[in-house]
Amino acid sequence: MDGDEDAFARLYDATSATVHGLVVRLVRSPELAAEVVQEVYLMAWQQAERFDAGRGTALAWLCTMAHRRAVDRIRQNQRDRDRDQQYELRQAETPSDSTWSEVEQSLDSGEVRAELGALSPIQREAVCLVYYRGYSHRQVAEHLDVPLGTAKARIRDGLNNLRSALGVRQ
């Protein structure tokens, strides 16, 4: 073998920087990121049958798996910490919109920076917390000290605005 592995290697080469960049930003540890990225590609290899080019791009398929996997790891670690040492997440946290300033510095795509920049600050912060930090809507609500419904609305509105700006077909 052969053609399978060659095709897989090409897919890896075309997508791994994006997948890895996302995962390392979420889990904030190069070692854990390497582990998660390896898991993601192994899953992709085993579940190739489930990929359907008519439904979306290969990159979106991989990023979706990577985000899910990374977020599950983060939440598992949070649960472990909460149990072990009553770790108080909020104490370590930073004021509102700081996730955005941190993300903004590292965005290497001016396009995405402009699109995120075009969102209202509260939508942008919610989107960044969810996508780049892996927060659930409940965590977003706690972090921003707003009701759950408000947090959900900000995430939805922010992502819907991005979707229109990006021209992803309705």
């Binding site: 073998m1 052969d2 053609g3 399978d4 592995e5 095709a7 290697a9 090409r10 897919l11 890896y12 080469d13 075309a14 791994s16 920087a17 890895h20 960049g21 996302l22 930003r25 390497a34 990225v37 390896q38 590609y41 192994l42 992709a44 085993q46 579940q47 190739a48 049958e49 990929f51 080019a53 439904r55 979306g56 791009t57 290969a58 990159l59 979106a60 398929w61 990023c63 979706t64 985000h67 899910r68 590292s106 290497d108 795509s109 396009e111 995405v112 996508y131 892996g134 659930s136 809507h137 959900k152 995430i155 939805r156 992502l159 991005l162 979707r163 700006a165 990006l166 992803v168 309705q170």
Partner: protein, 268 residues
């Protein structure tokens, strides 16, 4: 449409699609939404669309992994066979009685050969889709003005055309090497379509262009011509009647008969 969610709160369950797509639901909500998702085509589309938004956000923070990771991943893959969906195995067996007979003699290994062949096609499709991504994505993200809306329509048409090709049951890819640089031909006879893709072709030279030829019964039929750099072109001719594709360098504007040497060929 209002639904009662599994946790007893009233809410629009479809509105959770976007939250689900970016993993913003709590664990219990995620499980409940997945039950709904299985039967809801509208939500499946929503989730897929927000998956593309996510990939766009991810591509903005791209960071190459350490080189060692590539070796680890490929080594891990080498020892693992892709999983197969049972109904497709039997469908495949029915299509290939010869393989099935051979399978009776040597047990499960030959079924796995058929499976592998199928898995390979799937992989080539996924890899081809990844190759196509940059151009498709570049065109996809624009806003606003009428010109841009027209462009968006064109991009959407192009994406539909690519999707039809990539979803064709007989889609295959062929790797070509042009002056040491890789190019890919994505072909489906059933769709009568072929797409030539390269991310970085060398320039063909001053006053010259690359040209593709469809070989029909050994006769080269002139097809598209184009320059170097990032290339993504559809072949014009009768792909379903051609046995091979060849590539030459011709004077700008293309030729009626090929100028030798042939730079690359691929059977289709």
């Amino acid at each position: 449409m209002k639904d009662i969610q599994g946790d007893g709160r009233t809410g629009d369950v479809h509105a959770d699609a976007v939250l689900y797509a970016v993993d913003a639901l709590e664990p219990g909500e995620r499980a409940a939404f997945e039950l709904h998702l299985r039967g809801c085509a509208a939500c499946q589309e929503e989730v897929a669309a927000f998956g593309e938004v996510g990939a766009h956000l991810a591509s903005a923070v791209a960071e190459p992994p350490p080189a060692a990771l590539r070796e680890n991943v490929l080594a891990a893959v080498r020892g693992t066979r892709p999983e197969q969906q049972p109904e497709q195995q039997s469908e495949h067996r029915a299509e290939n009685p010869a393989e099935h007979r051979a399978g009776d003699a040597s047990g499960a290994t030959v079924v796995s050969l058929a499976d592998r062949r199928r898995g390979r096609r799937r992989w080539l499709t996924a890899a081809a889709a990844a190759v196509l991504l940059p151009a498709a994505a570049l065109g996809g993200w624009s806003v606003g003005t009428q010109t841009e809306q027209r462009e968006q329509q064109l991009v959407a048409q192009e994406q539909d055309r690519q999707n039809r090709l990539l979803s064709a049951p007989d889609v295959t890819t062929r790797q070509l090497e042009v002056d040491g640089r890789p190019a890919t031909l994505v072909v489906s006879a059933q769709e009568d379509a072929a797409l030539f893709v390269a991310s970085d072709l060398a320039g063909p030279g001053e006053g010259q262009e690359y040209q593709l030829w469809l070989l029909q019964d050994e006769t080269p039929v002139p097809d598209v011509h184009f320059g170097g750099g990032q290339v993504q072109v559809w072949l014009d001719g009768d792909v379903d009647r051609a046995g091979a594709v060849a590539m030459t360098v011709e004077p700008a504007g293309g030729s009626e008969t090929p100028t030798l040497p042939v730079l690359a060929t691929a059977e289709i």
